[in-house]
Structure formats: C-alpha cells, structure tokens
C-alpha cells in the first residue's frame, strides 16, 4: 500500500506530530490577545486619580501640583501592575506572553516619551502643557497596545487623545478637570466594562 517502510513512517509521523504541536503553540502565542489588562486595576487607578485631582486643585504652586500628580502616578502604576498580575494568575495567563510583549511594545514607548517630555516642559517652564502631553501620550500608548489586547482599549486610548487635544485650547485652571476626566472617570468607566466583560 505504501512505498515508505513502516519504521520510517513511524519516525516521520512522530516528527511531524512534534512539528505540528510546536506550530500550534507558536501560532497560539502569536494570535492570542493580551487579556490580562485588569478592569479592577483601571478602577483603582481611576479612584487614585480623582483623589489626586482633589488635592492638586488646592495646590499653591506648580511644583506642588506636579508633586501631587507624580506621587499619584508612583502609587497608581504599581497598583495597576499588581492587579494585572493577579488577574493573569487567576486566569492562568503569563504577563510575558507574545501578546503581553506586543502590548508592552505599544504602550511603554509612549509612556517613556511622556516622562521625557514632562521633564523637558518643566525645565522650560511650560508646565501648562504637561496635562495635554500626559493625556495624549497615555492615550497613544493605550491605543497602540489595544491592537494586541482587549479591543475596547482602542476607544479608551482615542478618548484620552481627544481630551488631551481639547485641553490644549482651554485655560490652564481647567487642567485638573481634564486629568480627572481622563485618568479618573474614563479609567473607572472602562475598568468597570473590562471587569464585567473580560474576566475581572
């Protein structure tokens, strides 16, 4: 029936089975979305941002204002990361999967650019532009990361960018309103949506 000796067929089958499983594994890693983005993390970061906005509003100088928001970020980032890791563990996911790395590759450069620009703007005395830069670049990062994650994140990123753009044309006294709307309200709303529809 076959022109292939039985033992060679066995070896070929075994090799092809191993190859196929490896192919399936790499294809899954390439196509699985990064679903460890935590809705609870978004809500927690949003609440922290609202608290920061309340404190920042009553600050007497730009330095004090900046300190409040940087302190908020210093607390919110680890909180978000810990809740993301907890979600990943709960769902037996790894944060450093191919999708996780793609998400980080989209998100991290924009955040790093935001940090550098903040430093440059503060040095140049243009603190009024800082909220727009934060909103725009955070939005750009989320939007870039969304292509390998939960699709609704694209809307979150886009809305952040709209807020950042609009904030450029409003008085600087409104800065905490814009930051509270983006980092507070938007994150809480989208966090609740993700928590309800994407497993926490």
């Amino acid at each position: 029936m076959s022109n292939v000796p039985p033992n060679r067929t066995g070896v070929a089958l075994n090799e092809r089975a191993i190859e196929s499983l490896e192919f399936i594994r790499t294809t899954m890693a390439r196509s699985a979305p990064f679903t460890a983005v935590s809705g609870a993390g978004g809500i927690a970061m949003g609440v922290l941002a609202l608290v920061a906005a309340a404190f920042a509003r009553s600050s007497s100088s730009n330095e004090q204002w900046l300190t409040v928001w940087v302190a908020c970020a210093a607390v919110a980032v680890p909180v978000g990361f810990v809740l993301m890791r907890a979600k990943a563990r709960r769902h037996d996911l790894t944060l450093w999967s191919a999708a996780g790395r793609r998400f980080a590759q989209g998100f991290v450069p924009a955040i790093a650019a935001g940090a550098v620009l903040t430093f440059a703007l503060v040095r140049a005395g243009a603190v009024d532009l800082v909220p727009a830069v934060w909103l725009l670049l955070y939005g750009a990062g989320v939007l870039a990361g969304s292509s390998s994650s939960v699709p609704v994140l694209a809307w979150l990123g886009a809305l952040f960018m709209v807020l950042g753009s609009v904030s450029l044309f409003t008085p600087s006294e409104w800065r905490d309103l814009w930051l509270a709307s983006g980092f507070g309200v938007l994150q809480i709303a989208f966090g609740a949506y993700i928590a309800r529809n994407h497993g926490g």
Binding site: T9, A12, N14, M28
Partner: protein, 129 residues
C-alpha cells in the same frame, strides 16, 4: 549567461527533487495516521488555531497571523467553511466591507481531535523507545 542559468538551475533543483520525493511520503504518512487532512494543512491549521483562542477574527487579522496572501487565505478559509468548521460573516464597518471568521462547534471538536491525535502519536513513539 548559459552558465549562469545552469548554475541557477543547479541551485534550484535539489529542493524540487526533495519535494517530489517527500510530498508523497508526507501524504502517505498523513493518510496512514488517519489525520483530518482539512485541519492538517499548515495554513488551515493556523486559521483553526488562531480562531480557537479568539472569539472571532477579521480577514485582515487572519492574514497577519497566517502570513499568507489574500487569495491563499480565501481558498483555505472557504474549504474550512464548506466543511462546517468555520463560520464566515460578511458585513460592513462603515462603508468598508468586513469579513469575520469564527470557529464552529464542529471546528472546535475537529481541532481538539487533531490535538489528541498528535499527542497520541508522540506518546506511542515514546512508548516504543
């Protein structure tokens, strides 16, 4: 020029010869193992695998994952659709046509059966050693 052509031919020939020898052997092995040939093909296996971890994927997303051409993806997706493994939904996103693919229950069962089959082959080979 002629020398260049023959040199090029010499470079091309060995893989072609290899293919003609290996292809029937691979096909025979696939038949011998009783594998679902619809799923076993690499492009179709990539489609089914990608859809097994995503609720649905667009044509463009599948093209990126399978790294194949539009025509090739269409042909393979249609074969899976005809077998009832894949559901194809055509619609519009704004004014742009959008084709979405998802795995049917039959497709999910066929994929699971294929995975079990692969594992059984490996277990069997390990048992022989």
């Amino acid at each position: 020029m002629a020398a260049k052509r023959s040199a090029a031919a010499a470079r091309v020939d060995p893989p072609e010869v290899q293919r003609t020898v290996r292809a029937p052997a691979a096909a025979t092995a696939t038949r011998a193992a009783g594998l679902d040939r619809l799923v076993h093909d690499r492009t179709r296996l990539a489609i089914v695998t990608a859809l097994s971890v995503n609720a649905s994927l667009s044509f463009t997303e599948l093209k990126g994952i399978t790294q194949t051409t539009d025509g090739n993806l269409s042909v393979h997706a249609r074969k899976l659709e005809e077998a009832g493994y894949v559901l194809c939904t055509k619609g519009f996103e704004g004014r742009l046509p959008k084709t979405e693919f998802s795995l049917t229950d039959a497709g999910r069962r066929a994929f699971k059966k294929y995975l079990d089959h692969m594992e059984a082959i490996i277990q069997h080979a390990r048992g022989k050693k």
